[in-house]
């Protein structure tokens, strides 16, 4: 996902575009740039966030500008690949969101015709096509260029010779026009320009939009003037970015069926069966360590259980802040970090490298520091996460670790292909299983009501459910400020038992696995102390009601993949407890999204 913006009007265009870009940052932020048309075409780009761009942006005068914020899913994050892109003579600039499918062919043709390319992107082809067709009219040149393009796009172009004009078009990617007084906007999404105008036109697929400060003209694919109705926006910027959800965290919880599908997409093959992770070739390794902080650490612990189970490889897990100073540095070290900028995890990866270890990063941000340090990178591909409490990045990190476990199990021979096919088949069902958890949100809200007045809350589980209990407790602490602790169920009687009272609810994670009976015993011991117990259990567990005071049902999946629906239920539980308690969910006190200091 990327964001585009265009402005033409009476204000200083570069300042307006910078402000609009900031509100598109949720669509991506690994590199950004803008082009301004004044007397000439000014271009400025930067690898990094919009903030980085803003810090260095030079004075570029002109009343028309286009901007772009990039979120690479394919292709490197480099200055050359950042938008806007220009033609050979730097007279025409284009910002684009989407995929030009036939760009390789077009690029070769253009190169044969003498065009030189500055980047590896598909977008640059558009700039050169416009250059070829340009005979003094940008609208005609863009229309001609689009005829040659296959794929999806929302794009906006400007030309040095025609200040006070921008031309936009869309096919399958979002584009809206914002209409002001003596100024006009085009953008990927309404929030970009909402502080300037609330009057918008939604552009239809195939439309060409010719924008001047005092006019907006829309042409349909046949080149006829098209009437597109104007709408008035009634919501504000923050609401808009939250897409109707009360909080970013809730939005991101609800995005998980999609984000998990994105993580897995193109990486599974059931019929063959195999796992396609070329980027993750670790070669032979006799020792594996996973290092991370916070939620990523718990994802790492879950991953370690899964790797040991599926690939029969011993895996050590360590907190980055400990490992970098004290850890045994040998074999292969995997750093898990959402932002790719977590200072302690970067430190741990560097320390491991100094000791000759092979390193791998699992991160959500292409081009982040972690990807540059590590020998190999697997991207979680789940889109920007804004809520401070990590949700969708946790499930995507675990999904990547499952893929890695399957790949290692296949290559080591620990897993038969038939077993792999079973897991791949189950992985395909993850998005729908998570959807079904979300569809039961109302019940989780009711359970949360009963917990909201508690002062302490315990989470227990065995095996893979131990790190899930830790993650459930962490979510609860982070956003509801309720004192929550996760324990390995077998450890309760070695100390924590002393804390149990009838006012201490216990959330017990029960699965259809070899330790189910042990869990039921633990639950019995807790019940004997009169603490209320709420089980999280799979749909097919017909007996669990008899042992506990309440049950949160999650769709049945074969262990260890059952961890996905379970953790989503715990996220929703934490969210609704925090909401009942009136907490600041998206900006919990004392916490920042990514911890880039040690």
């Amino acid at each position: 996902m990327c964001g585009i913006i265009g402005y033409t009007g009476f204000r200083e265009a570069s300042a307006v575009v910078m402000e609009c870009l900031q509100r598109l940052e949720y669509r991506g932020y690994d590199s950004a740039g803008l082009a301004v048309v004044g007397g000439q075409l000014h271009l400025f780009k930067k690898v990094g966030t919009i903030g980085d761009l803003a810090a260095d942006v030079p004075d570029m005068q002109g009343g028309t500008a286009i901007g772009h914020t990039r979120w690479a899913t394919h292709g490197e994050v480099t200055l050359a690949n950042a938008h806007p892109h220009t033609d050979c003579r730097r007279e025409i600039a284009v910002a684009h969101n989407g995929i030009i499918e036939n760009f390789q062919k077009l690029r070769q043709e253009l190169q044969r015709a003498g065009h030189t390319f500055a980047s590896e992107t598909d977008t640059e082809v558009v700039a050169h096509l416009i250059e070829d067709a340009y005979e003094g009219s940008l609208p005609q040149a863009v229309a001609a260029a689009l005829k040659k393009i296959e794929g999806s796009y929302a794009l906006v172009a400007v030309a040095r010779e025609e200040p006070g004009l921008m031309v936009a078009a869309r096919r399958e990617s979002p584009l809206v026009v914002g209409m002001g007084d003596r100024e006009q906007f085009v953008a990927s999404d309404v929030p970009a320009f909402l502080p300037f105008t609330k009057r918008v036109i939604y552009v239809e697929d195939g439309d060409l939009v010719v924008v001047r400060p005092d006019s907006v003209q829309i042409l349909d694919p046949a080149g006829r003037q098209a009437d597109r109705e104007e709408c008035l926006i009634t919501w504000d910027v923050e609401d808009a970015q939250k897409a109707g959800y009360e909080h970013f965290m809730l939005k991101e919880i609800h995005e998980q069926p999609t984000s998990i599908a994105h993580t897995l997409r193109g990486r599974l093959s059931e019929i063959e069966p195999q796992v396609l992770l070329e980027e993750a070739d670790l070669g032979e390794t006799d020792s594996l360590a996973i290092v991370a902080c916070g939620t990523s650490y718990y994802a790492g612990m879950v991953g370690a259980y899964i790797m040991e189970q599926l690939a029969s490889i011993p895996v050590a897990t360590a907190l980055s802040s400990e490992y970098r100073y004290f850890g045994q540095k040998r074999g292969t070290v995997i750093g898990v970090t959402q932002s790719g900028e977590t200072a302690d995890t970067l430190g741990a990866l560097r320390a491991a490298q100094r000791h000759g270890c092979r390193t791998m990063a699992i991160t959500n941000v292409a081009g982040s520091t972690a990807t540059r340090i590590a020998d190999a990178t697997i991207l979680t591909r789940c889109g920007p996460e804004i809520g401070v409490a990590a949700t969708k990045t946790f499930t995507s990190q675990v999904a990547v670790l499952v893929l890695l476990a399957l790949k290692m199990g296949l290559s080591s021979g620990a897993l038969q292909t038939d077993a792999v096919r079973g897991y791949v088949s189950a992985l395909r069902h993850l998005p729908s299983a998570v959807t079904r958890v979300l569809d039961r949100e109302e019940h989780l809200r009711q359970v949360a009501q009963t917990l909201a007045s508690s002062r302490h809350l315990f989470f227990i589980g065995r095996g893979i459910h131990h790190p899930l209990a830790l993650e459930g407790a962490l979510k609860m602490k982070e956003i509801s400020y309720l004192h929550a602790e996760g324990f390995a169920a077998g450890e309760l009687k070695h100390g924590p038992f002393a804390l149990l009272t009838p006012e201490t609810p216990v959330i017990a994670l029960v699965d259809d696995d070899p330790v189910r009976d042990k869990m039921l015993t633990n639950i019995g011991e807790i019940k004997a102390r009169k603490s209320p117990v709420i089980a999280v259990a799979p749909d097919h567990d017909a007996e669990i009601e008899a042992f506990v005071d309440g049950v949160i049902r999650v769709p049945s999946l074969p262990p260890p993949l059952s961890c996905f629906p379970t953790v989503v239920a715990l996220q929703l539980l934490a969210y609704h407890v925090a909401r009942e308690r009136g907490c600041s969910i998206d900006k919990p006190r004392n916490l920042a999204k990514s911890v880039t200091v040690e």
Partner: protein
């Protein structure tokens, strides 16, 4: 103009598929029925839409969200108990401040059908259609272009004109609904009939576009096939060489179709599917997202929902397979004429296969006789032959 979409109903006659979703969320050409309704409204520039949800409402809210993807602004109200359509509409009263459309979210309708109704200047107007089986619906009696009565599901229909359940109203309708609710009449037809009896003008607007209803599971097949004809063809994903594709076929991103496969449209295949080698897909078929079809299987005139796995050497025809169901090899859905009992009424169904609910497990070598429904989360053991409709979570050894 505003609109109220009624999406609260369960649609029990569509067992087994409505055990997991309300009728508005049944996939037709891989999109929920209600999506067609929302698009028809948006195409007429009706963007302020109130959705009345009830039965399994999260599925609706999670899919449509705030409506941004359809360029509309959706707000939701809940009808706690599904008493009737009038009662459902009443839940939206506080959000309506001018003339509005009220329509069912579980009928497929296109933009053209709605536009005549929107343009009609009458305070109350009903969109009517001709139907070949009017007694399934509310049959409309007309005099001079005005409605005099609507008779719900009469055994003998006097005309072939039916109410589509799509209305144009003024906000004053809400107080009438409230009055009739007191008298125990919770349906919109009650309100409209009363208006007609009182001699008020109730206009009838005849639709000129598409209006389709799915009443029984086997209706899904015809309606799906018809909707497929309108789906725009699209190539994406990976097609191995040689794969033959003929006619209007729409393929989603990241789908892999392996060599030797043969696909004849109209057909739609979702995202992230794995199909073949050597799989045949014939006209009138929808394949949802993340479906896996093993080699040497043929699927024709069927709806296969998301996340389904179909084993090799399997024959699926005139059938609907619920989301997440996994079928082993050598499954045969026999199709032909059969009898299906729906809500205590026995129907003769010509040319029907099997209707399998969500998340069933079907082992190898299973055969199902024509016109059989299987409840969700059932298990059909290896070699089973199923001859009659099964309740949810059945286990056939």
């Amino acid at each position: 103009m505003q609109a109220v979409v009624l999406a609260a109903g369960e649609g029990r006659r569509l067992y087994p598929f409505t055990d997991d979703r309300p009728k508005v969320m049944l996939p037709i050409a891989n999109r929920p029925i209600m999506e067609y309704v929302i698009e028809a409204l948006a195409a007429n520039n009706i963007r302020d839409i109130v959705v009345v949800t009830g039965y399994k409402e999260e599925t609706v809210r999670n899919y449509f969200g705030d409506g941004r993807a359809w360029k509309v602004n959706l707000t939701y109200v809940t009808q706690e108990k599904q008493i009737g359509t009038g009662h459902a509409l009443l839940q939206a009263a506080s959000s309506i401040d001018g003339p509005f459309l009220a329509l069912a979210g579980d009928n497929i309708v296109d933009a053209q059908s709605l536009s005549a109704l929107i343009d009609s200047q009458q305070d109350t107007a009903v969109l009517i259609e001709e139907s070949s089986s009017p007694s399934k619906y509310g049959v409309v009696q007309l005099r001079q272009g005005r409605i005099t009565a609507i008779v719900e599901k009469p055994p003998q229909a006097e005309t072939n004109l039916i109410s589509t359940g799509i209305y144009r109203f003024q906000p004053s309708i809400f107080s009438r609904i409230e009055d009739l609710l007191q008298e125990g009449k919770p349906h919109l037809t009650d309100v409209v009939c009363q208006q007609a009896q009182n001699g008020e003008q109730v206009g009838a607007v005849t639709g000129t576009g598409t209006w389709m209803d799915v009443v029984y599971p086997w209706d899904m097949l015809q309606v799906n096939a018809q909707a497929l004809r309108a789906a725009a063809p699209r190539r994406a994903g990976t097609l191995e060489d040689p794969v033959t594709i003929r006619g209007n076929v729409r393929i989603g991103d990241h789908t892999v179709i392996r060599s030797g496969s043969y696909i004849v449209g109209p057909a739609v295949i979702g995202e992230g599917c794995e199909i073949g080698p050597h799989v045949c897909i014939f006209p009138g078929t929808s394949i949802g997202d993340n479906v896996v079809i093993y080699p040497y299987t043929d699927v024709r005139f069927s709806v296969v929902m998301a996340g389904v796995t179909i084993g090799s050497h399997t024959h699926v025809s005139h059938s609907v397979i619920g989301a997440g169901t996994a079928m082993g090899s050598h499954f045969t859905a026999r199709h032909g004429t059969g009898f299906m009992e729906v809500e205590n009424v026995l129907h003769t169904v010509g040319d029907a296969g099997v209707f399998i609910g969500d998340d069933c497990t079907v082992d190898d070598q299973v055969t199902v006789e024509p016109a059989v429904a299987i409840g969700h989360r059932s298990h059909l053991g290896s070699g089973a032959v199923v001859r009659k409709t099964l309740p949810p979570e059945s286990n056939v050894m």
